[in-house]
């Protein structure tokens, strides 16, 4: 091997802290940094979700298949209910189940209500106005082309119904995902006749999402470790993101080829086979019956209130 000569500059210390002891200007994180922090947050949330899914609460003890079926039935019921009070009662039940499953109530509520105003509130807001939903104006807002504009009672009722329905539905989904580990959820989907290849692809996508998120975080950390001045140029950040996306695409492609080889090496021929699920227990049956009874009562109560 050839001899290696050490350049002179490598033996000299670089200028570190300013000799006068002054403190430089502080800078805020770029959009890239925020995105990376978000990616790390996704990882942490998934880890937390797995922790809560193996906890000692009520829903954690119920078979995943029963939970998935109960969820589907509950979502359909929430869609069929026409009375806000009934939906509100369903929502209160989800809160009670969250407490019984030893989930943090504040975390559970925040996780639901963080998205409801953003995705539903914006959509239903115009529907509260008399321009969209005619009716008795309860909050006058002024005039538009000579016509009085305001929030109507009928509009508020419709908006309330939609928001409560969405909040209840999201609560049900969050309840099941927080109390069921991903692997059991996939096993439940397989048992409920979702195509095996679809479930296998879903499972592998989720698994490698973590791997690639790690790769992204590593790439960003490596860049950050060598960034000593403020990057004023947004274009350079964009270039970095584009280059990272390209590198990540290459990594993902190489990884997918290796994974395919690893599957072939163990006899994969296109048909995903998995170990069958465990049997249902009495408590699973009791839970299923209880949910069924509750949903019948809910629909019955809604019909009575609508009349």
């Amino acid at each position: 091997m050839t001899a290696t000569a050490t350049p002179d500059w490598l033996t000299r210390p670089e200028l570190g802290l300013c000799p006068c002891g002054c403190i430089g200007r502080r800078r805020k994180g770029s959009f890239v940094e925020k995105t990376m922090t978000g990616a790390a947050g996704v990882l942490r949330a998934a880890m937390l979700s797995d922790d809560t899914a193996t906890g000692p609460g009520l829903l954690q003890r119920v078979d995943a298949r029963v939970k998935v079926l109960a969820l589907l039935a509950s979502l359909v019921t929430a869609g069929l209910v026409h009375h806000v009070a009934v939906l509100a009662a369903m929502y209160v039940v989800t809160l009670a189940l969250a407490v019984a499953s030893r989930l943090s109530l504040s975390f559970f509520v925040k996780r639901v209500w963080l998205f409801v105003p953003i995705f539903t509130g914006v959509v239903v807001l115009p529907a509260t106005l008399n321009l969209v939903t005619p009716g008795h104006v309860v909050v006058p807002l002024g005039t538009w082309f000579g016509q009085p504009v305001g929030v109507t009672a009928q509009g508020l009722t419709s908006a309330g119904l939609i928001v409560t329905r969405v909040a209840t539905s999201i609560s049900l989904v969050v309840l099941v995902t927080l109390t069921t580990s991903w692997s059991r959820l996939l096993a439940a989907l397989r048992a409920l006749f979702v195509p095996r290849v679809f479930v296998a692809v879903l499972g592998m996508s989720y698994r490698y999402l973590f791997h690639l998120l790690d790769a992204v975080t590593d790439m960003y950390t490596a860049r950050k470790a060598r960034t000593v001045t403020r990057d004023r140029d947004v274009a350079s950040s964009r270039r970095y993101v584009a280059a990272s996306a390209g590198a990540l695409f290459g990594k993902a492609q190489a990884l997918s080829e290796e994974v395919h080889f690893a599957m072939l090496a163990r006899g994969y021929t296109g048909d995903a086979r998995t170990i069958s699920n465990t049997r249902l227990r009495v408590r699973d049956m009791v839970f299923a019956l209880a949910v069924l009874a509750a949903l019948i009562v809910t629909i019955g109560g809604d019909r009575v209130l609508v009349r």
Binding site: M1, T2, A3, T4, A5, T6, M47, D50, S181, W182, S183, L186, G203, M204, Y206, R207, Y208, F210, H211, L255, E258, V259, F261, A262, M263, L264, A265, R266, G267, Y268, T269, D271, R273, T274, I275, S276
Partner: protein
Amino acid sequence: MSSFADHARVAERETLLALHGVSFRYLDRFAALDDVSLTVERGERVALLGANGCGKSTLLKILDGLVFPHTGRYDAFGVGVTEDSLEDEQFSRGFRSRVGFVFQNSDAQVFSPTVREEIAFGPLNMGMGADEARVRVDDVLTMLDIVDLAERAPYQLSGGEKKRVAIASVLVMNPDVLLFDEPTAALDPRTQRWLLDLVVELHRAGKTIVVATHDLDALDALADRCVVFSEDHRVVADGDPGRVLDDTALLLAVNLVHEHGHRHGSFLHSHPHADGHHGEERCAASETRSGAQSPFGATSSTSNPSRSSR
């Protein structure tokens, strides 16, 4: 041993894998293997030695029927292994169950949602019943001391744990031949030791082992035969580890060891060096006055780095 006994032992030999004049190129341009001929007998422990990029991993992929030579022929258990022959379901199932491959990158090999499902993947794809597969999975989990990991997701595992799971997922199929690609790479010393002990144990159990490595320190545990690849992707030596490791000129030529220089007081001296270990230091062989521009001398001694380091 008498010549008769030697003859009897040779007669008992059974060639499991045989490569005849195999060449392989990536994208039809970048050579990975050039006219490689090699046989692996039942019960052997073969180490494929060579610097990075010499074609060891590609050779393992060919031995596992994952890629196919552009020229030459590969036979396993007396049958030609080609894309065509692996389309035969019976041959494919027989071949896959008899040859197991532990990849260097455990992340690629551990792809299922849980460890238990990962280990069951092979047996189930081989057509084994769920009950039998479940028993085998439990046995392998116990054997490799990873029962606690059974329900864990791969992203919750450390590097060493992933390696154990990857090995379990191959062992559960009870293959005759085990192919390992850089098994000790990126593992902590404790896990490396565990892995080397496992290879010894598997060999005692009658398994044939083929290991691609450049870890010369692990050779004693890993191999009783070394096949050395040059950087131009050809086989340049094939023999027992002692003979190969004693050939310093060969190891220098294939870049498995390098000249290392360091300072003793005001003197600099150099000797061959491998994997962070000093060889038998013969300071008298080449000493240089301090003050030379480069700290790394270019002269070489004849001491063997690896043998003396162990």
